[in-house]
Amino acid sequence: MGNVVLGSYWSKLRRAEFCDGVPTTHPLSTTGLKRRFRPTISHSELRHVCRPARQFFFFVFVVSAMEGRCAVETWAEFGSSGTACTPWLKVGFGTDVLLCTGVDEVYVYSPREGKLTAVIEGPGPVTDLVESPDQQCLYVACASGVYRVSSRLLGSRAGRSPADASPRAGALKLSPESLAFAEEGVLSLLLVGSVLLTLCQRDSSWILTLYRSSDLERLRSVRVPLAVPSETGRRRRPLLTCVQPSAGGVRLEPILFKLLFGIDAALAKSPVVLCGLPDGRLCFLPLRPAGSRLGVLHSLEQPVVFVGASGVADAGRGLARCLVAVGEQGRVVLIESEGGGDRAAFVEGCVPGPVRCGCVDKKRLYYSTGSDLLALHLPEGSPEREGPSVEKSRVTPAALRSPSSLNVCRVLALAEPTCNAAGQVELLGLSARGQLQRITLPVDSEDAGWPKAPSTRGGRSVGDLLSAIGDVGERAAVLKANVKSKNQILRRLNQVLNISFLLAAGTDGEEREKPIGCRATASWSRLLEEDSLTLTCVLDNSSPYVLERGWTLSVAASPLSGPPAAGGQSSSAHFSFPFHSLHPGETLEVSLPLAAAGESCFPVTVSCSLIFSLAGLLGEEAAVLPGLQPACVSLPLNTLTVDWLHALRVTSPAHGKAPSQSSNTSDAVQAFLRLRRLSCGGGAEVAGERERHAASVRVSAASLRDAPALRGCEADAQGGVRSPPRNVGLSLMEWLLSEALGGVTAVRRGDRSALRCSVVHGRDPSGHPVKLTASEVDVAEQAGGREETLTAVEVRVESSSVAAVCGLHHAVLTRVQAALQTAPGRAAPEKRTQGSGLRKALHRAERLLQQIQQSRISGAVGVGVSTGQACQSLLSVYQELRENPLLVI
């Protein structure tokens, strides 16, 4: 996860490099308003840099509030981890920003270079990190222990350009060699002078351990029993910070220091470690004199999220006048000396929580609730309170009640505030989306109070306000557009759901005609000197819903049987046709090449389905959502079958005969003779002539006459006039060749009269000549001891190609079956048995079975007969099966 984010980060960074330092204005955002108010915005203007989806632009955005305005500049984006770990960021190596979003990596970002200079990758979530005072090394706390990383090592990584090689070149992996000491579950680190402190939680207590940083020898450990049994769930990080009585670090006013931490610590000039625990206790441990005990300063009764020192009593020495601690639910305690140094006052107040993080500068406490960043003005000077000596004043000072909003949302971690050259306070924040932001606060008007603007700057102020209004308008427009697009998406989603339900309803149980379906026509066309069978699919929307943008018609054509393609994959072809919109009653026509001439893998099953992709619906927004899989809804429509009859190219009798008879002399007698030979010889060969194969289907004429499919066809053919029964064979042939079966119609160009003929010549897809004959025959039946004759129609397929004969026979059989199925149920008495025929057929079948088995055995054993022989015998069996068929009644 981290890798992905980082990878994308590098690429973004490269794009952003051209505009680092001074944020450039993206052309799109320079609206008229912006240009109009541009002159009123000073250079030290408040900026909000925001990143539209997919692209990494900077544009200036001014946020306005009553009290002041705040510029937010996004430096980089690291992605949010969403883990239970608290993200944090620190400033180290001078101005570099070290941050962790709660994953295993710590990013080192250099604002000067405007890029990520290094990544430290730990073996587990990195909980904390401290920098040695000489900036020579970093101590990194991971789950299993504390690692020491030399900053030289980081420097060498930083030297590499992010553009070169892999984006992970900058990652420094913490290896076991760099393990300083092993300690399970260190949550916080602090380095005070030569002492490195770690804080971790064991079963029933917090353990603060002191190590000597020079040789990492364990000096001492202090145990603090847990006040409440450890809760499960989000593990909060305890805070460690340090205050000094006089030199180095955060210095506290001596009097307050003595009052809080005692005379011993003051005499020893000891640094004092402050520790804010998730159970609300604020503990302190003076490092000197040796053997000092840990004391509890206060309890906030809610997880401590921030501890710091603030307020400067006298600017010259830079001593902090009070300690501030903030609890998660918004309880704030100010600790300061009171009554001229008699005692320490603990002033408690409450701000609207929840508080996610905080920081202080000289006068203000900044804290983020996640939805807003607020500044709380800390009271200056000792608040005058007389009366009885109350140690904790429950009276909330007015100041604690009125935090002012800075209008920056989603800040999860803050670093120490700094002051820039223009006197503005700058905060570094890490947002919930993993963005590193610099938040520049307006110059605080020293003389006039915080809420009031000085009158001298009135003119400027009006301009500022106007510009702010303009920007708010702009923002509102953006939001409006956003809402509109969301509505649009919802409406479309509704349509999609309706269609899904509609199509899903048809799949269960009975075959109901779906309101949305596909038809197809197959036709031969000549493309690039090559004949190919083209299938034209028509998507028919007869539903009341509109198929909108985002839908795709997907057609998969797969041969029912065919030679397995190389690699064992089925040789199916998929075609997708995205379309814009299909209103009710409209149709969509698409064409796809089904097969080229010579490829005879019929019948082909064509499955149609409708696919809707969510990505298409969300459009650009889907791209910014990390980890969103391209989700699709796939709704199957109907399945079409293109068989041999569809693929048959009918030629006019004369034309059709030409190729086959070019070698033999055309003679009716000869033809007749040949036919006879074939019918009785069962594939016997005529010398000098290519081997011809034949198969036939016999259908009782009576049943055919009743079949509505055929009747309809007849009616069509006769122009709607019911004529006396024609030749049944002729109409069957016509029906076979022209009717749309399985939703597919074969389009045959040329002479339609060629079809109205009981003998049809044609060519199969591979170009072999094929002859189809429909003739009426009388079949003698032995029923109940007496001879009976039945009129039947025999459809005979003849071709030199075995494949064509098989395919066409199969196709004819399938169609006749389908036609008869649609016929109304015949009365039982009419059913006749083909007693003798059946018996004969049974005998024959048994014999053939034996023959097949024999050939299979010999084929399997591989002895006795050659492959050719086996084929031959199988072929003869096949032909015998096809010859003398049973009558279909």
Binding site: F181, A182, E183, E184, V192, G193, S194, V195, L210, R212, L219, R220, P254, I255, K258, L259, I263, D264, A266, L267, A268, K269, L287, R288, P289, A290, G291, R293, G341, D342, R343, E391
Partner: protein, 624 residues
């Protein structure tokens, strides 16, 4: 032909591989940290448990029992080493119940001693006997570690027989010969003979400590002395000597006790508790030089880097500290921290004429307190006095060593740190008076009083320094500051208004009031003497008289008051004053006071013999 291994052979191999791996790591394990060691132990334990689960997956078969019991032994030992005694105990009972001979005997007793008696009886004299006995040893270790000495007492006979049987090692002989050679014998993870020896002596030690704390010293002594000849690690032997010494000290035989302590130290030079106890005996008998010597030794021993105990091979797994966890023993073995010893040493030296040495120790102590290197600091034991108190003591010692400049620097430190915290007015109350108020408020007042007294004492010491340097004006200024501070304190008696305290109100020595009066007396005396030196005799006389009022036993003030009177020509009064001073006997020893509350030795002194000469000259009749 190569035969496939049987299941039990495979298990034996697995067990032995684990044992060998453990021992291998242990061999080079000195460099490992405690943490790593622990991780390794957890791993080992889980591996043995996995193996055990496999073995126990089939119903108990007589052929496998020995293997199974050995793996149980190993797994259980790992659990005990991790202080998981309950788990270990249940594992032991379950495993024993699976022994085939046991199952024949029907229901098991829930009472552990009875259970084990039955277990031993049912295995009888079979080959399984040692295996079950070893498991009993582990149970013994658990009882010992959880201080169930009563249970051990109940089973004493059985345990003794187990000990005798196993340590005579009739079965062990042939096994140990073939040990490591053949792979068909499951190995134990710890040498079983060592385990038994360890258990034996630890039992003696724990029982001895228990009896000693119950006051049955002679009974304890007998057991301990028999234990001292057992084969065991040095540390444990030295414990037996030490405990014998403690028994003897209880029985009022200090010399014999000292002998025992010496033996303990000779056995194990790290046995600091013996050193500490001998020091206490010397202190008790007033042998200051020996006490100082012992303190010095004690301090240097404590400052040594804690030597890694060279425990004999095979006992890494079960350190004796795990088995000796009784409260009474640990209180006997406790020793104050190195800093506290250093403080005692410094104070003793200064009080007993070894000022220069004492000053060095004080400076060492302050330096140690100022480093973050907290070596040798541990919680428990008497805590050190507060830091300002130590500063003042060190300052006084420095002044005694004639280093006024250093003393002044220390006092300055206290004054600058504390001055702004001083309460504006302080009302001292009788201890009973405090009951009514909240403890917190009382503590706050107490803190204020202490700070005031510290600052007062610091001013006093500075005054002494100026006196020492013969800078009389500065001395007067400093003493005046001290006096001004001290007179702010009012004393509240029950039912009375707060008032300025006087000498007759001082009830007990060591109270705040006593210290206050002493400071007042000393500072007034100091200022009086300084005035006298600058020939402001009247002011001098007034201060000295006030000083005598505040602190009647003040020697300097009395003598100098006489001297001033003498110079003023009031010779008879002077003589009376001197006589009174000499005749005054303090009702407590000066030595018990803090160093800085003692009368300065460095100021202008009056020679008593010279004064007596003057008295004789004045009124020969009186003396004659």
């Amino acid at each position: 032909m190569h035969q496939p291994l049987s299941l039990s052979d495979k298990w034996i191999q697995e067990n032995n591989a684990l044992v060998n791996k453990w021992e291998e790591q242990e061999g080079g394990g000195d460099t490992l940290t405690r943490n790593q060691n622990h991780t390794r132990l957890i791993w080992c334990s889980s591996e043995f448990h996995k193996l055990l689960r496999k073995i126990q997956g089939i119903p108990p078969i007589a052929d496998h029992t020995q293997l199974e019991l050995t793996v149980v032994f190993n797994a259980c030992l790992c659990l005990i080493a991790q202080s998981q005694f309950l788990e270990a105990e249940s594992l032991l009972t379950q495993a024993t119940e699976r022994v085939p001979q046991m199952t024949e005997d029907g229901p098991f007793a829930s009472d552990p001693p009875v259970f084990w008696k039955i277990a031993l009886k049912s295995v009888g004299n079979t080959a399984l006997n040692p295996c079950v006995m070893y498991l009993l040893c582990l149970q013994w270790a658990i009882w010992l570690a959880t201080c169930k000495l009563q249970t051990i007492q109940e089973l004493q006979n059985e345990l003794l027989s187990v000990f005798e049987t196993l340590s005579s090692g009739v079965w062990d002989e042939e096994r140990s010969a073939s040990r490591r050679m053949s792979s068909d014998i499951p190995l134990p993870v710890m040498d079983q003979r060592r385990l038994i020896e360890l258990l034996q002596i630890c039992t003696f030690i724990a029982q001895g400590a228990e009896r000693l704390s119950e006051g049955r010293s002679s009974e304890a002594l007998a057991g301990l002395q028999s234990a001292s000849s057992l084969p065991a690690p040095r540390t444990l032997i030295s414990y037996t000597h030490f405990l014998s010494g403690s028994c003897l000290a209880h029985m009022n035989r200090p010399q014999m006790a000292l002998q025992c302590y010496r033996m303990a130290l000779e056995t194990d030079s790290q046995c600091v508790c013996a050193l500490y106890q001998s020091m206490l005996i010397y202190r008790q008998h007033g042998n200051t030089q020996a006490e100082i010597q012992a303190l010095r030794l004690l301090h240097s021993t404590l400052m040594l880097p804690s030597a890694t105990e060279a425990s004999p091979a095979g006992t890494h797994l079960l350190p004796s500290s795990l088995l000796l966890q009784s409260q009474s023993l640990s209180s006997l073995l406790s020793v104050p921290s190195a800093l506290s010893v250093l403080h005692s040493l410094a104070l003793k030296c200064v009080l007993h004429e070894r000022v220069a040495e004492g000053v060095e120790y004080y400076l060492d102590l302050l330096a140690a307190l100022h480093t973050e290197d907290q070596h040798g600091v541990h919680a428990g034991g008497p805590s050190l006095p507060k830091l300002p108190e130590l500063y003042l003591q060190a300052g006084a010692a420095l002044l005694m060593a004639r280093r006024p400049a250093d003393c002044m620097a220390l006092c300055d430190e206290i004054i600058t740190t504390t001055l702004e915290l001083l309460p504006k007015k302080v009302v001292l109350k009788e201890p009973e008076e405090c009951e009514g108020e909240t403890r917190a408020a009382c503590a706050e007042v107490e803190d204020g009083v202490w700070m005031l007294l510290w600052v007062g004492a610091a001013y006093l010491l500075q005054g002494h320094c100026h006196t020492h340097l013969r800078d009389w004006e500065q001395a007067v200024t400093t003493y005046t500051r001290c006096i001004n501070l001290l007179v702010k304190v009012r004393f509240k008696k029950r039912g009375c208004q707060p008032q300025i305290p006087s000498a007759d109100m001082v009830g007990m020595q060591g109270t705040n009031l006593c210290i206050l009066q002493r400071l007042k007396g000393l500072s007034l005396a100091g200022r009086g003497i300084s005035f006298t030196q600058t020939d402001q005799l009247r002011e001098g006389l007034r201060d000295l008289q006030l000083s005598i009022q505040a602190l009647p036993e003040g020697k300097c003030a009395g003598l100098w008051c006489g001297e001033v009177l003498w110079r003023l020509g009031r010779k008879r009064e002077a003589v009376a004053c001197w006589e009174k001073t000499w005749s005054f006997t303090p009702h407590f020893s000066v030595q018990s006071l803090s160093l800085y509350l003692q009368e300065p030795q460095s100021g202008p002194l009056l020679d008593s013999t010279e004064l007596r000469c003057r008295i004789e000259e004045l009124c020969p009749t009186l003396s004659g």
